[in-house]
Amino acid sequence: MTDLSTTPAPDVRPDQDRPVAFTQDALGWEPWLPPLTEDELTERHWSGLVDRSRAKSEYFMLLARDPDILGARTRTDKDIFYNTRTGLPRAERELAATAASRFNGCIFCASVHSRFASHFSKRQDDVQRLLDEGVGADLGERWNAIVAAAVALTATPIAFGEEHVHRLRAAGLDDLEIVDVVNGAAFFNWANRLMLSLGEPVHEHER
């Protein structure tokens, strides 16, 4: 006999608080393991956080438990996405990030980076089609080529090959721009796995 009143409370939120579809709306994220608290932070932790404002994020405060790899990861991230003096426009780096996140199934990462892709490209409806229809959505050849390359890189075993380079070159990308696609998709194979495995997205209005 099971007495329901003694069933332990689940340690995750009820399903209705969790997003069940890809969205460009802002989502929250809750950790499954305890983040550090500000009073636990040493100078090494602050250095790992890179920006002091990241101490407000439970995600970064959890990752701060290994501050050296967090700091190097953050600086890698920033150069891949923010260094736009040369190379691929920011919008298309975010498109690669969104495609990788859509294919891996990271609802949280896809929400953040689809918003960036929409903001920088002004193509919100096309970005939404990528979220709604998946990585096979027809977004025009240049974007299709970027999405296909990001998806091939995201598959395990990795399915990226010469045909993807040829298609990107035919769509007008030079080798620096192709490396920006590679870096953007590859970086989200790092980020997706952390976001998916150390916590879960929640609707922002809950917070």
């Binding site: 700091g71 995201t154 598959a155 075993p157 620096l176 870096n183 998709a185 194979n189």
Partner: protein
């Protein structure tokens, strides 16, 4: 020979066109290297030994299949250098061979995305390797397989399995960063090696 691990694994020669392309993202390049060092040559390995770190690296890179064998070979050499016996190296490789799969697969939170749920194997180390690996590595490999192939299946229960096998919260953060970083490194190497094997695109200028 360059000391940059990604350049070495991708076959990028100093002064080559791809060397110059990578130089356009200097912080990304330097911090991908710093990330590698933080994980595999840390100033203080704390709760995760160098042997464990390199065993996980061999497991993860070998799961990526024949196309990533150059990266896997590097980590096998490093695992041996970290003091692993021939028996342990053989057990790690056997555990990886038993985990071959094609990802990403897994289930979404119940809802409209459930139509995209894709079935695939749930991994546990083969019984014949369990004694050589020990409880901590066996649990780490099961979690690494989850992160590599089906990160959207991650759960608090998966983290609890690591805790039960002796992984502290700090250790779990380091392990998660390692598997996620390798997912990035493998993909950057794949993309760059593919470009390096093709004649440089000289029809356009990056700058």
């Amino acid at each position: 020979m360059t000391l940059d691990i990604i350049d070495r694994l991708a076959g990028i020669e100093p002064g080559s066109s791809l060397d110059l392309v990578r130089a356009e993202r200097p912080a990304a390049r330097d911090n991908a290297q710093e990330s590698h060092l933080a994980l595999f040559a840390p100033a203080d390995p704390r709760g995760v030994s160098l042997l464990e770190r390199h065993a996980v690296a061999v497991f993860v890179t070998t799961l990526h299949g024949a196309g990533s064998s150059g990266v896997a070979d590097h980590y096998v050499s490093e695992l041996t250098a970290a003091g692993a016996s021939d028996g342990l190296v053989a057990a790690v490789l056997a555990a990886a061979a038993a985990g071959a799969a094609s990802g990403p697969y897994g289930a979404y939170p119940p809802g409209p995305l459930s139509a995209e749920d894709a079935a695939g194997p749930e991994y546990a180390v083969p019984a014949v390797t369990a004694a050589a690996l020990g409880e901590r590595l066996a649990a780490a490999f099961a979690h690494a397989h989850l992160l590599v192939f089906r990160p959207r299946d991650a759960s608090p229960a998966a983290l609890a399995a690591l805790t039960d096998a002796g992984w502290s919260v700090d250790d779990i953060v380091t392990l998660s960063q390692e598997v996620a970083f390798l997912s990035f490194q493998l993909r950057v190497v794949s993309g760059l090696a593919t470009l390096a094997a093709l004649p440089a695109d000289t029809t356009r200028s990056s700058s």
